[in-house]
């Protein structure tokens, strides 16, 4: 019984330390010192309206925009996603549905004259992937430039500018941030 009371008391002390004081410290640190990151790296357009987050991808269907990867949750853009959602297809490599979905995706890309690359046919893990591979972006430059009446060189420069490289040139994979790129094109 004495041990049980000890357990309760120590648990309460630890609860105050790790579940109240510690998060509070981080909340203050975030909101005071790094408010941009702490609130979700939100992006605004020229008019100052919120258009999304630098870290969260969006769905694009028009020809004047670069397209993102397939998402199992439509980038949390459905009406019933009020809390914000994330999710993947969770289709196994052997599942025939995966092959069917990818065949349809390849057809859609080919109709838009985009060469299908792995990142553009496979759905992302989070359903919110902000990036496409530099190759996938390159294959879309001509289509976007034509739709916007821009020079392909100019669009290519924008692609390079919005590419996140490897960390220290070593870790991870380079990716083109689709929302930032499309926003920059809109702001031209």
């Amino acid at each position: 019984m004495r041990e049980l009371i000890k357990g309760i008391r120590l648990a309460l002390v630890m609860w105050v330390l790790t579940a109240v004081i510690y998060p509070l410290l981080l909340l203050i640190c975030g909101q005071v010192a790094f408010p941009f990151q702490a609130n979700g790296s939100l992006l605004t357009n020229r008019q100052g309206a919120l258009v999304g987050s630098a870290l969260i991808g969006q769905n694009f269907a028009g020809n004047s925009y670069f397209w993102s990867r397939p998402s199992a949750i439509n980038y949390s853009q459905d009406e019933n996603a009020k809390t914000g959602v994330s999710g993947a297809s969770n289709l196994a490599a052997s599942n025939p549905q995966l092959r069917q979905r990818i065949a349809a995706e390849i057809q859609r890309l080919q109709q838009a004259n985009i060469k299908p690359t792995a990142d553009l046919v496979y759905a992302s893990g989070s359903g919110l992937d902000p990036h496409i591979s530099p190759t996938a972006a390159r294959h879309q430059i001509e289509r976007v430039a034509k739709a916007r009446g821009l020079d392909t060189n100019q669009v290519e420069i924008m692609v390079v500018k919005n590419t996140d490289g490897r960390f220290l040139g070593i870790f991870g994979e380079p990716g083109v941030n689709v929302l930032k790129l499309n926003l920059a094109l809109d702001n031209l």
Binding site: L10, S53, I102, S126
Partner: protein, 561 residues
């Protein structure tokens, strides 16, 4: 491909560099040596002991230690269950989420108190900030500290020292290891882009004029202890694949190293306790080699991609289903093997969509439980395997089996066998029941052999206290919540009790001085035998399910679906 293998190699290189420094630090903490944090931490600990009523800090017997572990865990689990079940009436609930079902709340509380963090829910749509921050975030510290404390008591017993005091070990694990690293690491993650806010989700108008809902929350402080404590329960449903949990390659590197550092360094900590760092490095090397082998197998399979899809694409492309562009196949493969090896259970890509080789590697990790292993418990299991290897070699060469000069006798072998046998019991029996009723109970989402893997994986993950899953599985049902709770509890507490009794038994033995007849355990030969014992015991016990699950799926894909 070279660039990708290079980044895996470099990450592992950093890990090897961290191990002796961090392992020595942990040894200093638990041997009562001076450490650089003393001036800050000692007054804090004084206050904690005073408020917690921990006046007597003498060493405990195994019985006392076990009671302290069980009571404290029970108290904390019940406490958090009530936080979750009453979240509808608590503040910090911007999306006005109602309380989840009792069985989901129960499964969640058990899952987090056992350091497993298996999740049958999605954070965004199910749990309020109060449940996550005040409930789960708390258990992430305490369950990790419980694991470390048990490992240290076990190491003390093996090396002939009194077991120590659970309350002190538990407190010091938090104040001197988990909390300081978490504070620094959380600030770094925050700078890299992980949010930390109490504001609710934000609604934006996309460039094409649609509406998008972006979930946010107090993530940074949660994320860091999720990795460091090998908890693995994501703030968001999709875990570390979510850009807010793991925004870039820098955060990914930190999170990968954090989940590996404690279990890898604890092997070195043992070396310091035993005064035999050579043996520690040999055991470390043995685990490291198996670990690298599994990473290479998984990574190459992901790089070669899915032949069924490659036939639709022009040529071979990596399998990126369920993966993020910023991590690619290499960082996802490294993470998948690390997270199932260390029992962290966080994911940065979906295991359900891994190639069968990846499913094989992740299942294998959870079957053997020592490719680093769980927070604290993994290191202890490693030595249970060493004891069994000593027993086997002792039988082979006809010498009395001894470890560190102490005889291995009946009680040790019985307790070691309990640790080894609980695992298949907690996995295979519930799996068999579930698979007997595929339509009513199983909730399998992928057809064929993969469906079997989904069920086995879920129980293996629960029993090994891992927490990752083949997440297509429809697991938020009464059956799944209760049956996996059984595996969680049995997989956690039965081995802990056995480990502590084993440690006490070893402690009270007479030590015999080493002679020419002594079987040396710090040799390459003996370490090789240990590896053999681990692979044979682990692989043979579970070979039938591996053959029917991932291996069969691999053949199925190879022959063209």
């Amino acid at each position: 491909m070279i660039a990708e293998l290079w980044q895996i190699g470099l990450t592992l290189g950093i890990l090897v560099a961290i191990v002796p420094v961090f392992g020595k630090y942990m040894a200093d903490v638990f041997l009562g040596q001076k450490t650089f944090l003393d001036p800050v931490v000692e007054p804090l600990e004084g206050l904690i002991y005073q408020l917690g009523g921990i006046r007597i800090r003498k060493s405990m017997t195994a019985g006392e230690y076990i009671r302290a572990v069980l009571f404290s865990n029970l108290v904390m689990g019940v406490f958090v269950y009530f936080i979750i079940i009453s979240q509808g009436n608590l503040p910090l609930n911007p999306t006005k989420l109602p309380a989840p079902s009792w069985d989901l709340a129960l499964h969640t509380a058990i899952s987090f108190v056992t350091n497993t963090d298996q999740q049958h829910y999605s954070g965004e749509t199910t749990l309020s900030y109060a449940s996550q921050m005040l409930g789960l975030g708390f258990l992430m510290f305490t369950s990790a500290a419980t694991g470390i404390a048990v490992a240290i008591a076990f190491i003390r017993g093996l090396t002939g020292k009194p077991l120590g005091n659970f309350w002190v070990d538990f407190t010091q694990s938090i104040t001197r290891i988990l909390l300081p690293i978490s504070i620094v690491g959380a600030i770094v993650l925050l700078i890299l882009g992980v949010p930390e806010t109490l504001a609710g989700p934000v609604q934006v108008t996309t460039l094409e004029g649609g509406g998008q809902f972006i979930a946010r929350g107090p993530v940074a402080h949660f994320e860091i202890i999720k990795q460091l404590g090998e908890n693995g329960g994501g703030f968001f449903g999709i875990n570390s694949a979510h850009p807010y949990e793991n925004p870039n390659a820098a955060s990914n590197l930190i999170e990968t190293l954090l989940m590996l550092c404690i279990p890898a360094a604890l092997i070195y900590t043992y070396g310091v306790f035993a005064g035999n760092t050579k043996q520690a490095w040999l055991l470390f090397g043995m685990v490291f080699i198996i670990y690298i082998g599994l990473i290479l197998l998984t990574a190459i399979a992901e790089y070669q991609g899915n032949p069924l899809v490659n036939s639709l694409l022009e040529g071979q492309q990596p399998n990126l289903e369920g993966k993020e562009v910023r991590f690619g196949w290499a960082q996802t493969a490294l993470w998948a093997v690390s997270t199932t090896g260390t029992m962290c259970g966080a994911v940065n890509g979906m295991h359900d969509s891994l190639m069968p080789v990846g499913i094989f590697a992740t299942l294998f990790n959870m079957f053997v439980q020592i490719i680093w292993g769980g927070q604290g418990t993994g290191t202890a299991y490693l030595f249970v395997n060493v004891i069994l290897a000593i027993f086997v070699t002792g039988l082979l060469v006809g010498r009395t089996p001894e470890f560190l000069g102490r005889k291995i006798e009946k009680q040790e072998i019985v307790l070691a066998s309990v640790v080894m046998l609980v695992h298949p019991i907690a996995i295979l029996i519930p799996s068999a029941i579930t698979l007997a009723f595929p339509a009513q109970l199983a909730g399998i989402s992928n057809p064929g052999f993969h469906g079997l893997s989904q069920v086995i994986y879920e129980y293996a993950s629960a029993a090994a206290n891992n927490g990752s899953g083949l997440e297509g599985l429809g697991d938020n049902t009464l059956w799944w919540n209760l049956s996996s709770s059984f595996s969680l509890l049995v997989g956690r507490y039965v081995p802990i009790v056995a480990l502590l009794l084993l440690a006490e038994g070893m402690l009270h033995k007479q030590t015999a001085s080493a002679s020419t007849g002594t079987l040396r355990t710090d040799t390459v030969l003996f370490t090789g035998v240990t590896a053999g014992v681990i692979l044979i015991l682990g692989a043979l016990t579970f070979f039938p399910v591996l053959a029917l699950g991932p291996i069969a799926e691999g053949f199925q894909i190879a022959k063209g679906g």
